[in-house]
Amino acid sequence: MPILHHLWIILALPLAGSAVNGLFGKRWSQPAVNSVAVGSVTLGLLSVFELVREFSQLSPDQLPFVGNYFTWMVAGPFRVDFALQVDQLTLVMLLVVSFVGWLIHIYSTGYMAHEGGYYRFFSYLNLFMFFMLTLVMAANLIVMFVGWEGVGLCSYLLIGFWFLKKSAADAGKKAFITTRIGDYGFTVGVLLTFATFGSIDFGTIFKSVASNPISETTLTAISILLFTGAVGKSAQLPLYVWLPDAMEGPTPVSALIHAATMVTAGVYMVARMNPLFSRAPMAMLVVAIVGAITAFYSATIGLLQTDIKRVLAYSTVSQLGYMFLACGVGSYSAGIFHLMTHAFFKALLFLAAGSVIHAVGGEQDMMKMGGLRQKIPITYWTMLIATLAIAGIPGFAGFFSKDEILEAAGAGPRANFLLWLLGIVGAGLTSFYMFRLIFLTFFGTPRYDEQHVHVHESPRNMTIPLTILAFCSIFGGWFAAPHLVGGTEYFQRFLAPVFSMYAPQPTTPQAASLAGNPESGMAHNPALELAHAILSWPVGVAIAGFLLAWWLYIRNPDAPKRLAASVRGLYSLVFHKYYVDEIYSALIVRPLLWISTNVFWHAIDEGLIDGVVNGSARAARAAGGRARELQSGNTRSYASWVLVGVLGFTVLLLALYLRGAQ
């Protein structure tokens, strides 16, 4: 089993690609850079497939399969191995990341074709793949943290890819700093974990938490601290503000990092640490609440955004909220499942949006689009599919995952009506703003000036990924289809071991069912369940949202303005994203800036530190002024000094010699 015993290969490939492109790419032609970047990712994908094959031959007791490569650092009891592990969860993430990443690499070769810094872009992208894979394959918290910070770095680099554009550079900084706040919590969480369990190795932690009782408070603290990191990384309330601005980066970046993979790292982390979370109800509740509120809240913001990518960004935030909601109510598999499907359709949405932007020559404002349906059919259809998927229309991937989540929220062991309600409303809003997006973009009359912009379908290397992703957005959900619709819940059963291995005992039957033993659900009447599923609230609100959007933006397009006029206050409040950025800058940024300017910079740095430095320099100069008389540049005087030294040395030697003699 080569790959399984050489997991590092999967990491090495993109890293090598990044290094090669970063070092030599500048001189090379685009095809060369492509072949390196895409080639490395392709090989990575293939090796992941091979890994899957080998993984299927492992017996359950071999799981999780850990490959320990070298001891990274040892300090007393603190020991970090560079260890990678594979289990079902990792495998899912690997597949999602490397598959979507692969598609997006291909897409980028088309999208970035006319951009400067081509090699730089792909070097960063490969680097991101490396760190993301590190993150998901990590076998302990520190290695995971490496990946965690690494993807943050790459996100920063790629958001600010057009660093000459101030807004882009600022967005990059914003993303970096905001996530840093979360990462601080994460770091503390890691330290606390080590303090508690004396190890940062997943296996050890889980075993010890499962075997010997740890005070719930500690676990809660750890969980919440780790969750803070997730909040930052996955753009949850209150740290979501960076994600919309991150749209300054190239669209493939938004698709890969800020929709499909990096932002879901938080969800993955929570799912990975499920043994801790499951034992900390408080933390679980916090996760669920944050998730639900974020889901609803950012959906509302999404309603009125006119920038196509920003709409998608807020939708991403909201979908992430759903995932956390799922985790919060204990249905990790649902969360991960939604993560996967979301990776498909949200990546698709972004890529399609990119294709649209590409088509209308870089315009991102939906108000300057419209009527693109016939001009760019492939983009239109794929985007429509994605929209249906995210809106939760039955039969599409999104339907199953979202349905799972809402069911867990409504009927799960940790069911909570308010959370469920928020979820439902959020779902409705989601479908509304997504269809609004579709209608504004593809229907109605063109609002761009058709003389200058000549709309064209994107090249094949962009449309093909779209098609593939569209395919996935339809069928991606099916192998998680519940019995209700004749599915086998394969996905849950596949992931079950990860979440049940260290699950707290005893678990309620529903929990067991959610953890995925299919028998429990079978009691009910299939037909009835089916009708219930089809006509269940999610579908209802989805259709409602669709109808509303249709009525507002197709039927009588001037309605929105009147509506906005009627509820001006609320409208402007939402339109300005609840002024959150302004509030933050007023409450945090400005004071911080003032303090750092006046205290740290002027007082401490200039006054104290520079004072010391300059003072020592001045002292040295003064001393030199005295000493330079000695340095006449006259060889004879130098010789005399040498002589002095020699004599002194001889005296010393003789003294020592005599000491020895006596």
Partner: protein, 102 residues
């Protein structure tokens, strides 16, 4: 009194070395300073040979050999340098060549 004490040779070499040092410090002409270096080397050689004889080992002589070789190399390069110096600045006085100063 048919034997010459080792220490006489050593003293002679020491004195010669000291004179070489004095010459090095005192002389102003670059070439002469060079010569004083050679003088010191010679003094050291004398000591080497004396010890070689005293311990009846040829290693000392080998060292003398090497010293002479090095001296030759040094003279070759050094004199070339001196020539360049006197061509660039029409003086051989070490004190007119005080550009070791920063």
């Amino acid at each position: 009194m048919s034997v010459v004490p080792i220490s006489y040779y050593l003293v002679l070499s020491g004195v010669l070395f000291g004179l070489g040092v004095i010459a090095f410090v005192y002389k102003r002409n670059v070439i002469t300073i060079f010569m004083s270096i050679e003088l010191m080397l010679n003094a050291v050689n004398l000591a080497f040979v004396t010890f070689a004889r005293a311990h009846n080992q040829v290693d000392g002589l080998v060292f003398v050999f090497f010293v002479i070789v090095v001296a030759a190399a040094e003279a070759a390069v050094g004199l070339a340098v001196v020539i360049m110096l006197s061509q660039n600045r029409q003086s051989l006085s070490i004190e007119r060549i005080n550009h070791l100063k920063l």
